[in-house]
Assembly symmetry: C3
Homo-oligomer: 260 residues x 3
């Protein structure tokens, strides 16, 4: 029912995001049937977010001015009860990234964080192997950090990788959808966050919406790889084709979710 | 004859534009056979524009510094008699956008504006439904606002949608080319503006050049959709394939233009 | 052996680059099996570069702040003995570009420069026809300027075009790989620079690594054009497909390199 609702209501998703994937996440938003707006100026973000149904903050190419805009937009979203989704790209790689993610989380009430396991672990105060913004992490599962961080910050925590972990501090879901080809295209993590924002914008139970959204994105990866395995250029394009044609029935049939 | 001339003369089109579609509009420019340059720094735009045959100002991800650069570049373009094309993305969505578009139009002599009907209506002082930068407008035609604005500002006004309207304040053209798939890829409005800038850069009569350019872009959408209907990723790629192979004969044969 | 080593070691390539091709060069880096990070803030570049195995500075959409960041990152890279690769996009088109390229070269020890012949000539003090950032140059070969600049600056100079020239001031290589379709997609010059950075990050002899890298990129163009000639949208996508599946054996078999 999520996809049907997205295509009917066409929620506007305000992104303050990096210039590497701005086009790609806008196109993914459109392929889902939602509407994107990319806007970063401190002189308009507070007003722009008032038109939106979710605010996505992605620090992939942050600088100090952009972080200030994120906080202004985030506070206004809080006032208006619009969910704020944070993607702490590269947290742990530099002090600026770690500190900015923490600062945003302190000043803005975050509805959901989506990062790889290294980024989430760092924010939870754990050590993790991280190289630039690309996690080199293996299979070792940090369920504890996911749940702890969710509890500590009172928000959804989504740590994605071979398995995705979603927790609201109480419930924990393991999602086993996805495909290795997703790591051959830049910004698929950012796309997962965009998907999360879209699903949270129209869903009622945030935990369930997040789980459904991340399962959907994993399934998109699987279906795109069926059409274009070992061909990252073609795979990238198939992501949009598949998303546009995805149905709620396909999600139901293909999703591999385990609630712990 | 337009395409032939573009491919022979290879006009340089200086874009000061948003980071969402900078790559896509550069690639469209190349596919037409023209040359793109993207440059925004106030310390070079006045010099860069002197090499160009058209200046395109797109406020899709504006901030105050960028608007200052646009005005500097625009004034120099005016001095050099280079046409300036304005895309007021999201005018009406925030005060910053509406005010910036108006400020640019006040300080720079604009040759042509291209926006959706909502954006154009707002600039003409009308109310219009607008959500973010994506117009949700229906079929209701604001011929009056197009013509009025063209007359008031003494420039071409192009309001694009299911039907495109072009007016120089005196003449009015209705263009019925295009395809619904164009709304499934971000930046197709910006691409229409790039097309307009290219055609204005080499054409003699601005009204006729604008009509030919927007018809050409609609035809590109139709031909791309023939190859990739319901597949936004593939459709996006076909836009460049089709543009590169488009001929003046195809435009003549397919264009649906009515001069009122 | 280069590709094998890249895929095994997965070097991180720190890009401070333009917003037109940030996505495309990140995707090319991934397709090679290396890892990209795009980061420009002066508050993190010095730290970010310490994780990297090469630093790429591309002035395609420069402004003064970005140039300052480049110098900070470049100096830190010098301290850590990480190779710095400069792409002086549009040098000669504006004073800002020419001066910034010269300033970077003065303050930072550059391992390699990659530009078109016009850009390289300008930096060497020669005049050259240049229109925006796209060189309109013909076949006329400026071997002298390539070698002179390499000698003068004590770095690799790579001037790419129909023939690519690589010199370390002593040796000179001519590379005759490549395909005209490469000029139909924006950022293929920037992609050549990314390839160069990746090969320099893992190679031992810099001259040989640069020659191998630029030959590899030319071969990628040839193979992509075999699959998608006269179709710039499809050609663009094939670049990533081909890169991902390229082998050292194919490079050895197809490369056309002449050492003078």
């Amino acid at each position: 029912m999520y996809l049907e609702k997205i295509r009917e209501e066409r929620p506007l998703i305000h992104h303050i995001t990096n210039y590497v994937v701005a086009n790609e996440t806008a196109n993914l938003t459109l392929a889902f049937g939602a509407l994107p707006v990319m806007s970063h100026s401190i002189d308009e973000v507070g007003e722009m977010v008032s038109h939106a149904r979710a605010l996505l903050l992605n620090i992939g190419t942050l600088d100090k001015l952009q972080v200030e805009s994120m906080i202004v937009a985030g506070k206004e979203a809080n006032n208006l009860d619009i969910p704020v989704i944070l993607d702490p790209v590269g947290a742990g790689a530099t002090f600026l990234r770690t500190d900015s993610a923490r600062k945003i989380m302190k000043e803005v009430k975050i509805a959901a964080i989506r990062g790889n396991i290294a980024e989430v672990s760092i924010l939870a105060g754990y050590q993790a192997a991280i190289a630039g913004v690309e996690a080199l992490g293996g299979e070792e599962i940090i369920e504890t950090s996911v749940k702890e961080l969710a509890h500590k910050w009172d928000c959804l925590v989504c740590a994605t990788g071979v398995t995705d972990y979603v927790s609201d501090g109480r419930r924990l879901a393991l999602i086993k959808n996805g495909h290795p080809m997703l790591s051959t295209v830049t910004g698929t993590g950012c796309m997962a966050t965009t998907t999360l924002a879209i699903f949270l914008s129209i869903g009622e139970d945030r935990f369930e919406s997040a789980v459904e959204g991340l399962a959907a994105f994993g399934i998109i990866g699987e279906l795109a790889a069926k059409k274009a395995d070992k061909q990252p250029g073609s795979f990238h394009q198939e992501i949009y084709n598949v998303t546009y044609n995805l149905t709620d029935e396909t999600i139901s049939r293909m999703k591999k979710v385990e609630i712990v």
